[in-house]
């Protein structure tokens, strides 16, 4: 594959302050990246990693969007003028795909750069081959899996033959299979083209052996560390772990709850026999399932992508109707409508089964954290004093007290997740169902969340968690439901 010259990056005292903010997002950043280097960019959340990458890609905006200090040069020129020669891949694949067919999307960058129409099909084929995405050009992009989508975005970027590749948490929202796919693609690409690579990731064990250098941004400006991976992790391992980076070789320090040896004799919190589930009323995603959610322990639902784990969780939670079979609760949980959660009213559901969705923002209803936590109690008709007591208690327990009046949508990813779990805890349900709770979490958020879930299990709540994460399975123990693709 024809290659472009790898780019050289030069930053001298560079900083950027977004308009409307008092403090700069990044400041006093100085480094030089030689052509062909592979740099891992780390730092606490809020240290400005994404801003730096956006600056390198030249997409931060013009004068009324912010104020720049210092210089940042790619191949000796301003990044804005190098846009077609720098490739940016971001965290959310759906926001990086432009057109609805695979071939069209990969060609988009070439069209923008004015490449001759006759040359474009060749570049598209090369790019798709380089990332190893072997799908027909007419395949709709929305039919791709997460890992495939990210590789498509990478292909779209590669078709422009960039000298500098910037990846901003490319694997954050992917399952383990997708993570491996993307990482392998990137390795293939840099081996083939020798392009300069700068990656932001907190999932470092995946990337560490591919990188030649690690740069750590300090939260209050400047660099914390800059050097070869082994040296940086050895010298700054503690600081990095505290900042939420998954430092290779460091344990999380939580106990692993025991795996349940055999089915417990007591009545399960939720159960279903010969259950068939579907998301919309078209076709069954899974059928013939026999499921039990025992009380007072964790139940983990695992399986490959698209097999129906979320659908099963939401069906058990009484939110999606069963196609055949019935989900029944323990007799003590029965509501006025009986023992089937799908028949319970919304208010009855609140005190029996709490559900934490994959995207916390789907659940937010109000403008401040305090109000958000009070939604459940208000729906149940609790008086002001009792509501306030519960709300304050939860804010304390989840380390969110200082944000009591903040708008839920302005929180960081980890804080939003904690808030969504807290809202569920407000009504003290017997069962808590969580859909991919550790998605996109950095180390700190992960540890806090798992510790919280372990506390809940210890106090007798039944926890059902859908997850890809090996660590979650190990630390929650309990029972396991493994879903397989329908034959």
């Amino acid at each position: 594959m024809a290659t472009a010259a790898p780019a050289r990056v030069h930053a001298a005292g560079w900083g950027w302050r977004y308009a409307g903010r008092r403090l700069p997002a990044v400041s006093e950043v100085s480094f030089v990246v030689e052509p062909g280097e592979r740099v891992l960019l780390l730092g606490a959340s809020g240290a400005g990693k994404s801003t730096l990458l956006a600056g390198l890609a030249g997409v931060l905006g013009d004068a009324d969007e912010g104020e720049r200090t210092g210089t940042l040069l790619v191949d000796g020129a301003a990044p804005e003028s190098r846009r077609g020669h720098t490739g940016l891949v971001m965290q959310d694949p759906d926001a990086g795909i432009v057109l609805s067919k695979v071939g069209d999307d990969v060609a988009f960058g070439c069209e923008n750069l004015g490449i001759e129409a006759s040359e474009i099909p060749l570049r598209v084929a090369d790019a798709l081959g380089a990332v190893g995405l072997d799908v027909p050009l007419r395949r709709p992009t929305k039919a791709l899996s997460g890992g495939q989508k990210q590789r498509l975005v990478l292909a779209g970027v590669l078709a422009m033959r960039p000298g500098l590749l910037l990846l901003d948490e490319p694997t954050a929202n992917l399952d383990p299979e997708g993570v491996a796919e993307v990482r392998d693609s990137v390795e293939r690409v840099v081996d083939a083209t020798g392009a300069t690579l700068i990656v932001v990731e907190h999932r470092t064990p995946v990337w560490a052996d591919l990188m030649t250098r690690v740069i750590v941004l300090a939260a209050d400006g400047g660099l914390l560390a800059d050097g070869p991976p082994s040296q940086v992790f050895a010298d700054h391992g503690d600081a990095l772990a505290d900042a939420g980076v998954w430092v290779p070789g460091r344990d999380v320090g939580l106990p692993a709850l025991p795996v349940a040896a055999s089915a417990s004799p007591e009545e399960p919190a939720l159960s279903a026999t010969d259950l068939a589930i579907a998301r919309t009323s078209r076709e069954d995603v899974q059928s013939g399932l026999d499921v039990r959610v025992p009380r007072g322990s964790a139940t983990v639902i695992t399986g490959p992508n698209g097999v129906g784990k979320s659908t099963l969780a939401l069906t058990l939670a009484g939110l999606i109707p069963e196609r055949t079979g019935e989900v029944v609760s323990a007799a003590s949980l029965a509501g006025r409508g009986g023992r089937r959660p799908i028949r319970w009213t919304s208010r009855e559901l609140l005190t029996r089964i709490g559900t934490v969705f994959q995207e916390p923002e789907h659940q937010f209803l109000t403008q401040t954290l305090r109000d958000e936590l009070a939604v459940g109690p208000k729906a149940l008709g609790w008086d002001a004093a009792r509501t306030a007591a519960v709300v304050d208690g939860l804010l304390e327990r989840l380390h969110l007290s200082h944000l009591a009046l903040a708008n839920p949508f302005t929180l960081s990813g980890g804080q939003k997740r904690r808030l969504s779990v807290a809202t569920v805890l407000a009504a003290s349900p017997e069962v808590i169902v969580l859909d991919e709770p550790t998605f996109g979490q950095d180390r700190r958020g992960w540890i806090e969340l798992i510790a919280l879930l372990q506390e809940e299990v210890a106090s007798g709540t039944s926890v059902v968690a859908v997850t890809h994460d090996e660590g979650v399975i190990r630390h929650l123990g309990g029972h396991r439901i493994v879903l397989e693709p329908a034959a």
């Binding site: 926001a95 432009v98 939110l319």
Partner: protein, 266 residues
Amino acid sequence: MSVQESVIETDAGARRVWLDGVNPVTKLILALLLSVPLFASIDVVSGLVAIGLQLLCLPLTGLSLGTVARRLAPIIIFAPIAGLSMLLYAEPAGHIYWSFGFATISEDSVQLAIAVSLRVVALGLPTILLFGRTDPTELGDALAQVAKLPSRFVLGVLAGTRMLGLFLEDWRTMGLARRARGVGDHGALRRFFSMAFVLLVFAVRRGTKLAMAMEARGFGADIVRTWSRPSRLHARDGIALLGALAIMVLALAAAVLLGTFRFVWT
């Protein structure tokens, strides 16, 4: 898969029909052509003739009668409702059958009501026939290359519209989340607005990120862009336009000949 194979591969079942060879911009003009002239006259004959002639063209569109009937169903159900308003509130003329408050049913209003109901169907039909199988990307390419609309706008809007599927998913999930949070029992109106708000937040956020990704791929700069999917006009477009014109002329002529032509503003 070699380049050649990838290029030749088509979706299973995507056979080419006559209408696929017509440029999407021409289809837009056809849609207008097949609806606006009908407004000149409110009468039963022109509506019926227009509907009949368009249905005769069904084989050209590649849609089955069943599909068209299914998509036409909501319109057919709605048509009498539109007619009802005319029935009760048209300016009274001719023999008065019934009157109550502001409502008056007269001979004239009955005629108008029937004609109006029929026209609702005649107006809804072109969109169903013409745009049943249109690919948005193809439409975007046509608007930018043939209609010469600014490519920044056309492609920006095209990219943005890809989000529709995601929003539908979000809307459904939010409904489930509200049931889970205890507020799913009452207050449908309040739920609608709260979900609408979150949808708009998602819209702005996704749009902002997409814009950044597009700019990073060189979009929006001053470089003249090339088109890997050329969109051109052919003889077939002219034929389609003449055909639509013919349908309209025949429909209105039939009305004039049978004496039912009634200019809308008399």
